[in-house]
């Protein structure tokens, strides 16, 4: 991000960068940087709080008044992530003939559909659409049950795309079900990995893939760092 600031500024566009990584901003020496210690993924700080966001923007634009740079200023307000799981109900077991994760995903479908209708778009679709989510989970269950990943997926497994689609589907459904004010950063992530069958399946599949000797490129990106 701060690299782009150099490029744009050299082209004659005055830049103000909101930075999430202070040491990186210090070393790249972009012209004007407002370091905001906010949760990663929330550069304006707080979703649904227009006044908070406006204050951040005004503080950033204030840097345009500086006569010379580089300018690196700390925004005075800090916002921290919350890693306690989102409070969100999960559907009861419905179809005993399918894996618990696929059954659960099917049970969340109505909430997911409501979320997409409300927002007009979806983050699902890198490897499968919503119809493909139970099947994607069933494939992971086969790997956990001992089938070799190449038997299940063929030679190329884009685990990152699969993981994104599963998390996005669950997250969009959960935010719809939870309602209320926006949750803290990483609450939806904690809910997915700690409370849902799909999250447990993704974690177990990562472990099974490692045991099968799958390349690190297949296993590493299945879960966030630290999970």
């Amino acid at each position: 991000m701060c690299v782009l600031a150099h490029v744009l500024e050299a082209a004659g566009i005055a830049t103000v960068a909101l930075a999430a990584m202070r040491p990186v901003a210090e070393r790249i020496k972009a012209p004007r940087v407002l370091y905001c210690e906010f949760p990663l993924g929330r550069p304006l700080g707080v979703p649904g709080d227009a006044e908070f966001q406006r204050k951040v923007l005004r503080a950033a634009f204030d840097l345009l008044n500086a006569p010379s740079g580089p300018q690196l200023v700390d925004y005075p307000r800090v916002v921290e992530a919350d890693e306690t799981p989102l409070a969100c109900v999960l559907p009861p077991r419905f179809d005993p003939d399918v894996a618990a994760s696929a059954d659960e995903a099917q049970g969340l479908r109505a909430a997911y559909d409501r979320a997409v209708a409300r927002r007009g778009t979806t983050e699902v679709g890198r490897s499968v659409d919503a119809d493909g989510v139970p099947g994607a989970l069933a494939q992971l269950e086969r790997v956990i049950a001992g089938e070799h990943w190449k038997e299940v997926y063929g030679p190329r497994l884009d685990t990152l795309a699969v993981a994104h689609d599963l998390r996005a589907y669950y997250q969009e459904a959960a935010l719809e079900l939870a309602g209320g004010p926006p949750p803290g950063a990483r609450q939806a992530e904690a809910w997915f990995f700690e409370k849902t069958e799909a999250g447990k399946t993704l974690t177990a599949a990562r472990d099974a893939l490692k045991e099968q000797g799958a390349p690190e490129g297949v296993t590493f990106y299945l879960l966030p760092v630290g999970r």
Partner: protein
């Protein structure tokens, strides 16, 4: 340690590109300036190509009126829930419109820019090719000031 702190420590340990000097543009007063958003969140419309998983140096131009955007960045290591609830927490387009309406800034640019932040360590192509190309498009639109938002 929190997940965000783990990522901040990890990123602080990685190499960053070196710059010998800091360029400095002198824009018109903000109240007369045309302002664009440049984000590294990999945003795109559904009708635009997705960003590739790694090392995609391309960018997408977003029209001022676009609101149904996808968060195309490929990292698993930041919060994605906020963007689903309020795009402005990553892409403050509605906030810019408000600041233009109340006269704080001169105009909202007709087009905005999204790159994907997961880049090779050298960032050479963005520095030499696609970054200048995006800058030229913004200049052609009369952009004076860019607000940069990372994820």
């Amino acid at each position: 340690m929190s997940s965000d702190q783990t990522m901040r420590d990890l990123m602080a340990s990685l190499p960053v590109p070196e710059f010998d000097s800091t360029p400095w543009a002198s824009p018109p007063p903000l109240a007369e300036a045309t302002v664009a958003i440049v984000t590294s969140a990999g945003l795109h419309r559904a009708d635009q190509d997705r960003f590739a998983g790694r090392g995609d140096v391309s960018y997408r131009m977003l029209d001022r009126g676009d609101r149904e955007l996808v968060l195309g960045h490929w990292s698993q290591n930041f919060d994605r829930s906020a963007f689903v609830l309020d795009r402005n927490v990553v892409y403050p387009i509605d906030r810019l419109e408000e600041l233009a309406a109340d006269g704080t800034l001169g105009a909202v640019a007709p087009r905005h820019v999204a790159f994907a932040g997961n880049q090779p360590d050298t960032v050479s192509e963005v520095r030499l090719d696609t970054g200048p190309a995006a800058a030229a498009e913004l200049r052609a639109d009369g952009v004076d000031v860019a607000i940069l938002t990372p994820v």
